[in-house]
Symmetry: C2
Subunit: 650 residues, 2 copies
């Protein structure tokens, strides 16, 4: 009999594994369907429903099936047990049941009115996976990939506008949504819909901040495919990527805002503490992300060790290099999380810094490996999230649909987007040489989709009833914007007469040509990138690039004379052309590629990293290593004495 019990318990355990497998299989199946659909769409040039929208539809259908077609298996779980001895919920609980001790792990708090919903379907419970999976597994590759594939040249040209939209715009959006929602909540309280709930202005602001995160995925995928005007693309890309970071930190700052006394009154001290939190977390995450990237750059920049020790270069082992790159980037995320900062922000800036420094030190093999790896992870993670959003509508068991709140949220989101884009564009146009035309503004207004980040922020906290209502509402807004606005992007582009089919490199070249023709070229660049960035660029080019990469002039020429011993130690031998001697063949390959590169972007300087044996140019892809978009400026530095010429090979 004892044997039988053991047998049964083993069976149960196996059942556990298999259900884990079934859940994953459901996601695999959805992803396979999505991939086949994308392929179909690509064949038929079908753009009214984007692939992300398609993934959501499949998720929705699957959620419907799971909800209504699977049987309720677990009768016991609807019962609530009383425990008098406990004062609060511990993280793990040992319970003695019929003389056998079982361990239980804390999952979440459940509101009383949702207890009944728990009666039953174990499958549903298993499909609603832990929100920490979003933040630790699915979001980092998406955000890192966004940072890693940022086209720096265009980005820095529009930096001022992007920062304005991202910081000021998100703040405006958050406050406007918060205010409108507060009005609706007051109305709801008035007609008695929120009896016994706590719903303060800070909760409204919390909702405002999470709804301010616009999604870069859907619109930009379409823009990328159609080769929409580069400036519009860059503005939208930069805005939505940075705005995600801002919205995440903002949401966190608001959630820990704790006025001392009356939660409805304005507490100046607590407010300034929140602002301080915001700035501290943002700066801290930025520092954490960049410093991990700098460590990676230093490790991969092995010329540094090479002439101190007898180490072979890391880039001779692409697998180790890729592994290190991957793990250090992920560590940037995790360290930030562990330190109470925001991992997503850290990983974003880690990606940008990795692309700026480390990418230059990688072997050509690793360049491709890392690019493909992150591309692939981004692709999978994106589709998993969109499938999951579809699923969540039916499988999440604590939905609270409140029509008034939902209507209010829709109104608030659109009003807030308008208050963000139009006034800020108007102000920015005073400072910009190249104005943001009205059709761009309309397009930016239209492209304010809500997606993965808003969803992930909303699902992160669904413990209380107001938060559950917010989650439900956020989900509906995501559905609406992805389907309607995502699907309407192509017609909208036509209707607004925005030019498509633009080659960003051609664009750059034409501009450069017109610049060199007028010969008064630096004005434009100077006007649009602030003084701070020119200082930073010079510093970066003279000191950081030579220390961290094989590019840039040797430190011996840029540092003052008394630093010479240190400078010589820190400078990559390749900066002197030492390495070239025993790598003749590589040089021959490279010099061809360099010519090609040079032709492709006439005013771009010869990328110096191509001179080392390790990094053969990966073709046009290297244009993103275009050094802060100050091509004209760099052309000047190019002829500083002491910089080796390729012809110096013996």
């Amino acid at each position: 009999m004892e044997k039988l019990k053991k047998y049964a318990s083993l069976k149960d355990e196996d059942q556990f594994y298999h259900e884990g497998a079934v859940e994953l299989l459901v996601f695999n199946f959805l992803l396979i369907l999505t991939i086949l659909t994308i392929w179909l769409f690509k064949n038929h040039r079908f753009r009214f429903l984007h692939e992300t929208g398609g993934a959501m539809v499949y998720g929705l259908v699957m959620g419907l099936i799971i909800r209504y077609a699977t049987k309720t298996s677990d009768v016991e779980s609807g019962t609530v047990y009383e425990c008098e001895k406990l004062k609060s919920g511990p993280s793990s609980l040992l319970i003695n049941i019929t003389n056998q001790v079982y361990e239980y792990q804390y999952k979440r708090e459940i509101s009383h009115h949702n207890v009944n919903a728990h009666q039953g379907n174990a499958m549903l419970q298993k499909m609603t996976f832990d929100p920490s999976i979003f933040f630790n597994i699915l979001l980092p590759p998406i955000i890192f990939h966004a940072g890693y594939s940022l086209k720096k040249r265009h980005f820095f040209r529009n930096l001022g506008s992007i920062l304005t939209y991202a910081f000021l715009g998100t703040a405006i959006s958050c406050i406007v949504i918060g205010l409108i929602m507060y009005g609706f909540v007051k109305a709801m309280v008035h007609i008695g819909q929120l009896k016994g709930w706590e719903f303060h202005f800070t909760d409204c602001l919390f909702f405002g901040s999470l709804m301010s995160a616009t999604d870069p995925v859907t619109v930009l995928a379409i823009f990328h495919e159609l080769h929409v005007d580069t400036d519009l693309y860059t503005l939208l890309f930069g805005e939505s990527v940075l705005n995600d970071a801002v919205a995440i930190v903002l949401t966190y700052s608001i959630s820990i805002y704790s006025p001392k006394e009356n939660p409805n009154a304005f507490d100046a001290a607590a407010f300034f503490q929140s602002v301080g939190n915001f700035l501290g977390i943002f700066a801290g995450s930025f520092a954490m992300g960049s410093s991990y990237a700098v460590v990676t750059a230093l490790i991969s920049f092995m010329a540094f060790f090479q002439h101190l020790t007898k180490f072979t270069k890391l880039c001779d082992f692409p697998m180790l290099e890729t592994g290190l790159f991957f793990l250090l980037s992920w560590s940037a995320f995790l360290s930030a999380e562990a330190a109470g900062l925001t991992g997503i922000v850290a990983v974003l800036f880690c990606g940008v810094t990795q692309a700026h420094y480390t990418y230059n030190n990688l072997s050509s093999d690793s360049k491709m490996r890392t690019k493909q790896l992150f591309e692939f992870m981004n692709f999978l993670a994106e589709n998993v999230i969109f499938c999951y959003m579809g699923l969540a509508l039916f499988t999440f068991q604590n939905h609270i649909f409140n029509p008034l709140f939902i209507v209010g949220a829709f109104v608030a989101v659109f009003v807030a987007r308008a208050c963000n884009i139009y006034p800020l564009s108007f102000l920015l146009n005073f400072g910009r040489k190249q104005k943001i035309p009205m059709n761009f503004q309309h397009m930016m207004m239209f492209s304010g989709l809500r997606g993965a980040i808003a969803f992930a922020l909303a699902i992160r906290d669904t413990q209380s009833q107001p938060k559950q209502m917010m989650f439900t509402t956020a989900l509906l807004i995501v559905f609406f914007t992805v389907w309607v606005f995502g699907g309407g992007t192509t017609p909208m582009l036509t209707w607004l007469q925005i030019r498509v089919g633009v080659d960003p490199d051609e664009d750059m070249k034409a501009e450069a040509a017109s610049q060199s023709a007028s010969n008064l070229d630096k004005n434009t660049t100077k006007a649009e990138s602030a003084w701070l960035f020119r200082v930073w660029y010079a510093f970066d080019h003279r000191y950081l690039k030579p220390i961290l990469t094989h590019a840039g002039p040797p430190l011996t020429t840029t540092l003052p004379g008394w630093c010479n011993p240190v400078a010589r130690l820190l400078t990559s031998p390749s900066a002197y052309g030492d390495q070239l001697k025993n790598e003749d063949t590589d040089c021959i390959i490279n010099s061809d590629e360099l010519t090609e590169n040079y032709e492709a972007s006439a005013h771009m300087p010869v990328p110096a990293q191509d001179r080392t044996g390790c990094s053969q140019a990966a073709g046009k892809e290297d244009i993103r290593e275009g050094d802060l978009g100050l091509g004209a400026y760099e052309l000047q530095l190019e002829h500083t004495p002491g910089r080796p010429q390729l012809n110096s090979v013996a």
Copy 2:
């Protein structure tokens, strides 16, 4: 006050996220250390401690630190609560604590004497992650990669011997360990060490089966680096890969062996049911794995659809192709698990079949992407497992160290390995033309490391005390074999005078040359690969390859005349040379590569897949597509009429 409570609960929740991050960060840190160590080892050609051994050492040290340096945080968790209302442990529990309902999730059963160990350290609890992660996340890429990178030519030449070692050898090993352990258990009962435990012969056999899984990772990594004799490499690789599959199914079959009455008496019916289970699960998993691979091959083989619909080829979208390949292969694993079969076995055969068919249809880009992706995942998963094994010695909280059992297990494992290798080699040498020399046998005896699979099987079930004791013992055996035998591989190779520095292709070439010189070539091949496999090979070459890939003769020539309409529909246009016309440039590239390939392995036929535009040969790597190792036989088929020649380009 209510606000404060909410705030506190939010804080707690955030604490949760951060601890998840800390755990992952610990692993990341261990992996980074491991990678840097591997790099150091590679530089110093240090082979006395292999990288896997190094990963375990780091894990061990980290486990020690976590165990003794972190404070006990959770005072509450050592307390056991009574629950009179419950009869068994439900999978999720709702508990009302101070008027708030909390949800708790079932984790595991805990033996009474280990309850105290739970007092405290939340960090330790979090570090011991769910065993299902091993089976669903970490093992599949390792096993798939083993299957995908199997060198088919050498494998099939030694198939008979490999199958004998894998099936018969594992069975012998399992029974020998089981018997010896039963003796030791009887002795332990005699001296009163196992009071109140149930420990039957089936439990001993269970231990025997899980300890029979030898690990391919450590030894083969060294073999691969040193280019050890190809036959020895293939024998060991084939044996350890297949033997994992056998051991997993065997363990499962034994764990569900349930005699009707007395568990100590032999129950013939139950025994035959277990044998039936074993065969059924093995065959079912094999079928599941291969069929997913065939589906992938069919999807990727788009010529089939191409002339029916207007679809562009999937291989024009390498990202989708890679995604589909990845997801379908993983689905093979998950489907097998969900169907109650063995996912690891399914994924192994899926890998082999993917390499045989799908690989030929992939674009050159996807070929590289999939190879690199699986290589990378394999690399990470391997190192995570070895780090975790190190960690588990200190962080797993239910260890039961029993000296007698441990000594018994060490004796049993070595005796069983000897009973497996020497008698079977003796028997096999009767049938083999190329005998297995004594030094190979000693090396195989020495290479019986226990690693990831034995560990994963042992940790899968640690609910009862006997199983916990088995887990502890298995862990110690893994440590000992990986460090001592893994470290001793290089000296042992020298001592046994086994030749190293062999180039498998050179080896093949020399053999082929000697074969064609004697002109009586087919005998050797025929003698060593059984009749069944020649039949299979002919079938595969004539029907499956043409249907599933671009290789092989057109179906119209291999099928009987009345099948012609169907045959024409199913045959890839490239098999007729249709596609060649508009792909002149590709052909020029390929013909060069083909010549090179041809030179590299003189008797290998021109790989037909190189004729399609999609798949440019990935150099020598393609040698693994060497079609079942029957080169001489294929050379015959090569001249069947109707097969297009490369010269047929207009």
